[in-house]
Symmetry: C2
Subunit: 602 residues, 2 copies
């Protein structure tokens, strides 16, 4: 299947629409301003001179590129002359930095001009190229202008003339260019970009190891690399031999996305991830030691790294796998990440960001305006600006609905309107309006979290015919046809595998795709002193004025109350208290304080 | 009160005697060998030359000093010609390194001879002097030889001529010399050493801040010190204004010990420590970030730093406070540390050591042969070699028993024999044998962990007259008098204050002073999947062949068993299993694996 592009999808709902508006009106300008103020944009003027402060950093280009990509997506659905002008200026500036041979990298042009391609392992050179390519593709698709695309084709050609089986060996320590080259191939039809992507993927981890050779050429001892055996970079063995998710989580997601694009085997990696290394929020990358995957089941809550970019990367990978195979397990994970570990990455106001997304906090973790390593804010901006990409797919005339978001799709010969108040309510109505009566299939994802589903077509009860978690309705559709899907959405208690030592004896609350948490501001301090009896009834309430409008969960809990002694031979006394949970994504938008996803049960 | 010196106490029991023998026969030679092999002893030859490898490190002298101290204590109770000769060689070598002006420090004599007294904050110069003074005092007391004592008096005099109210300001970043100077005063009677100790304690934290001035004099920016505001060094405010334990835990304990010696107020610090910052094992220093105290109640189990030296320091401090005030709360903590967080620091074989003593382990924490920073092994050696110091006190004719250890005390006019199988059994018999019938009081500590005590004098039930947790028996004692104390020693379930979020819903097992833990080798992996019902009966068994002979605890528990999914909507199934707990101090002496002190209850 192929994703229905976001340009064909108009999102108009109560949940995403305000967020996407904030993304356009606040996050995009915020990212621009920080890129401007920190010198990232002006770096493309190439006027930095040795001895001056603030030299262009090796990864700066990527931040600007992601802003260009996000701004392009935004313009594609929401024309904005001011933004268009600003984007055009930045695009021209980027193009102006291209060297006569096609090379385009601010750091290596002005700071270390003699070091080009000497440290692919650490220096993000091809990674930046990848993000620029993605930006160029987005810019071309949004504006129809070829100037940035042509520049990046020249750069990609230069890269392709440099690297390859019969040329210089090499690949990037931080994957990204692989998936970008696939995009470039798709938009240009030029097979050489696909071949180059495949070369970079295949070369990875091969012996003799390129990063050994490269380090030796720099006069360094390769064994002194701080991440042993290159697993940190997913380059410990050739990618087709990799069956366990390892190393830096964002890099892994970008590599696996390219592998999905290239139709390489991904299921062993996927299964390892979802059965051993995935937070309930869709966060991945357990440890801040290398922003990386960790020991199986070692899902620390307070210590969770769960970088926003890694959850975004998981959305990218899941989405690609979903196109290969319309199987709900991919869409379930994509949705889990999107509504939880991605969405938590940005404040409701759209201008503060989490880099790390722990599942418990003692009150000292807060969103920040910006980061020295600023990958996350523009990554959120580009994902949200293209959110429409993730909702529907098409295969010939057949159609699939992966996410429930009130929206309208316009395709040649077909209009489809989805009405729903998801994620707060599980009732979904699809209005199918083919231009002419046509026989085709519509696949509706029945989410893994849903235990009771009813389906009606034109008011008539329809049996659920499930294929890999999708209800398939095949018929001759006529304008005015109506599908009604009811996804029962009670509060669910979620339990972790007992091998996750951090969550033994604990329960998390989830309703629909939304994972909940306790905040100190609602429940008082010492959240771990609360326990939720297994028998407590949990009720929900729609609170339109809270946190931009959320369904909250209420229940009766017990709170341990202690005296002064640190230790005693008597268990603490317990008193009944009210418990209130709010969506995890919305935490840390009120008074700073503790937060807890996994609540003690009993 | 004054501690009865270990030289008057002969320990002959089943618990400590084998350990003290191992300390003499294995640990002492092991520490010597490592000091020799790493160059620490030969450093005193002063033949290191610039450009050579392995320059004497700033803290090496202290390791050798602690070995000298330990070896001296050992010789005082267990003559050993080979050890005496070895000690004499080392002592002569140390003395040979003394400079004509009295200065004695290997690093600053050969490595940075022009930097003497320029970085008291970081470089352990006075700390090493302190340990050498403690060694000299011990050596003099053990052997009657004055040579090392005289050398260290010369060094202390040189230090006293250098530092003081009307001389150079200064004090050590790592406290130690203060308590050492008090010892030197006590053995020499020279008031100037006490005054110098008091100067170092009083000067600490005063403004203008000495460490600011010193850093500026080195051309450094004082604000760039990695530990802000000097709390790390307990020098953020003058010591009399300090009411919360802060900073590096070992430094804190050595400072507070000197404060206790000097009769400075300690109770606010003590109360803060025992109500907020104390592990159940007597471990202190929550965080590896600075080996330091942390946030109140933030008693992470896996992440506990709980350095062996800090628990030893807590024994030192508690013991000094106990002499000031015969109050069980000091002895209880001293005992808690001794039987748990100190004893865990050395393997049963006496030759592997823990630096950190966490209360939970995923299986990757093991004792090591030696450390680059090797403070802990010789610290254990000197404490164990003088363990007899900690059992009894005397005040005139009155007598106090703090610890129950089968032993014999010989004092002028009084012999006291303590018979007990403590800590495995709470029955204690004291045979009192005064040379002549004498009226005096005997105080017997009724441990805080004990909830049922019976006391008999000469077979007759005696009422418990408690003063600050000590049963006081005042009478005319005659030879042959016999006190029998029965301390009920059931398995106790211990609960933490609910503000300790890590232990909410958890229980620890303690019997007498011994804290227990689960090990994987007895209970299988995934120890957090076990829960101990509140109603489970716990039984004990003496296992003479296990871990050098231990009482183990048995009970029925539940184990959560999970399928493959990482998350599910159904709680895990539970199956009944046997649970077996062993003393915490003895963990990691069998197959490596998980360990857990705080068990889920329910």
């Amino acid at each position: 299947m192929e994703a229905v592009p976001f340009t064909a999808v108009t999102i108009a709902d109560r949940f995403w629409s305000p967020r996407l508006q904030t993304n356009r009106q606040v996050t995009l300008p915020t990212v621009y301003r920080h890129c401007q103020e920190t010198g990232r944009i002006d770096a493309f003027r190439l006027n930095w001179k040795p001895g001056q402060p603030n030299p262009p950093h090796i990864f700066w280009d990527s931040d600007v590129a992601k802003w260009v990509e996000a701004a392009s997506y935004s313009l594609a659905t929401h024309p904005d002359p001011d933004l268009a002008r600003q984007l055009d200026e930045v695009v021209d500036l980027i193009i102006s930095a291209q060297q006569p041979d096609g090379y385009l990298n601010t750091h290596y042009t002005v700071v270390e001009p003699d070091k080009r391609w000497t440290n692919l392992r650490d220096c993000h050179e091809l990674y930046c190229a990848g993000h620029l390519i993605e930006a160029a593709v987005a810019h071309f698709q949004a504006t129809g202008q070829r100037k940035l695309l042509d520049a990046l084709c020249r750069y990609a050609d230069y890269i392709g003339q440099t690297f390859g089986p019969d040329k210089k060996r090499g690949y990037c320590g931080h994957e990204e260019i692989e998936l970008a080259l696939v995009k470039l191939y798709r938009v240009t039809g030029e097979r050489r970009y696909l071949d180059l992507a495949r070369y970079f993927v295949d070369e990875r981890g091969r012996q003799p190891h390129y990063f050994d050779i490269e380090a030796a050429a720099r006069g360094e001892d390769p064994t002194k690399f701080r991440f042993k055996n290159y697993a940190y970079l997913q380059a410990h063995v050739p990618v087709r031999e990799q069956t366990r998710v390892v190393g830096h989580a964002v890099r892994a997601m970008y590599l696996y996305s390219a592998m999905a694009d290239l139709d390489y085997p991904c299921d062993p990696l996927w299964n390892h991830l979802v059965t051993r290394q995935l937070y309930l929020t869709g966060g991945i990358g357990i440890t801040n030691n290398g922003e990386a995957f960790g020991n199986d089941y070692d899902l620390g809550n307070e210590t969770a790294y769960a970088e926003t970019c890694a959850a975004i990367g998981l959305v990218f990978w899941s989405h690609r796998l979903l196109q290969r195979n319309c199987d709900r397990r991919y869409a379930d994970v994509m949705e889990r990440a999107l509504y939880n570990g991605v969405l938590s990455g940005v404040a409701l106001d759209g201008q503060k960001f989490f880099y790390e997304n722990p599942l418990a906090s003692t009150g000292h973790h807060h969103r920040k305006d910006w980061f020295g390593v600023a990958c996350c804010p523009p990554n959120i901006a580009r994902l949200f600006a293209s959110l429409g990409n993730y909702i529907y797919s098409q295969n010939g005339r057949d159609f699939a609905v992966h996410l429930y978001v009130q929206s309208r799709v316009e395709l040649p010969g077909l209009v489809l309107r989805q009405e729903t108040d998801y994620p707060w309510d599980g009732h979904v109505t699809l209005h199918v309006e083919p231009a002419a009566e046509t026989r085709f299939s519509i696949r509706l994802r029945i989410p893994g979290w849903c235990r009771r589903t009813t389906l009606r077509v034109n008011g008539q009860h329809a049996p659920l015919k499930l294929q890999r978690g999708y209800a398939v309705i095949t018929r001759r559709w006529v304008a005015g046809d109506r599908i009604e899907l009811d996804l029962a959405m009670p509060v669910e208690r979620v339990y972790a595998n007992p091998r996750v030592r951090q969550n033994c004896g604990r329960v998390a609350l989830q309703r629909g795709p939304v994972v909940y948490c306790l905040e100190q501001t609602d429940n008082g301090p010492d959240l771990n002193a609360l326990s939720l009896p297994a028998t407590s009834k949990l009720t929900t309430r729609w609170q339109p004025k809270l946190l931009g409008g959320v369904v909250t969960i209420q229940g009766r809990a017990q709170r341990e109350v202690g005296g002064k002694p640190l230790y005693s031979f008597a268990p603490s006394k317990r008193k009944p208290v009210a418990l209130k949970a709010v969506p995890y994504y919305a935490w840390d938008n009120r008074s700073p304080g503790e937060m807890l996803v996994w609540i003690r049960e009993g």
